[in-house]
């Protein structure tokens, strides 16, 4: 494994192709069953970079396409309750 050992039972190398990346994302979706559709960034990580979203981050985009909520960077800024409050405030 060439990633970080965070004590999980899941082990994988960092994907080097889109096929590998989609497989890991699919495994994540199956394992966590979080109930939302998963989309996968391309290998250039463009979306992750544009949203400063590594390793995780939450945003809410309003109906006009503007940022209505932007969490602090993860992992410590990953607060689903704040996102929920922002959704309710719309």
């Amino acid at each position: 494994m060439d990633g970080w050992d965070v004590g999980s039972q899941y082990r994988t190398n960092d994907p080097t192709t889109m096929e590998e990346r989609r497989k890991v994302a699919s495994d994540c979706e199956s394992a966590l069953q979080y109930g939302v559709k998963t989309y996968v960034d391309e290998m250039d990580d463009k979306v992750m970079i544009n949203y400063a979203a590594w390793p995780e981050r939450l945003f809410l985009v309003d109906i006009e396409g503007q940022i209505a909520y932007a969490a602090e960077r993860g992992p410590w800024g990953f607060k689903p309750e704040e996102l929920e409050a922002a959704i309710r405030a719309l």
Binding site: N50, P55, G65
Partner: protein, 67 residues
């Protein structure tokens, strides 16, 4: 608009923090236009564009890295 950046090889917590600090320079803020994107699902079959929701419904973006 984000500058061209390449993810570094992260070998320590300090590496991770430095990478996050670099990314943070471009983070969208409340009131900014959300950077548009189009991504495919885990099967590579269906794509969705953020701008396709404009005028229709808000969108929650939940970013995560599983590796």
């Amino acid at each position: 608009m984000a500058t061209k950046q390449q993810p570094p090889i992260i070998q320590s917590k300090d590496d991770a923090i430095r990478w996050q600090d670099q990314l943070e320079l471009n983070v969208p803020k409340v009131g900014d236009g959300a950077p548009d994107f189009e991504l495919a699902d885990v099967a590579g079959a269906q794509s969705v564009g953020l701008s396709s929701f404009r005028g229709k419904r808000p969108v929650a973006l939940i970013f995560g890295s599983f590796t």
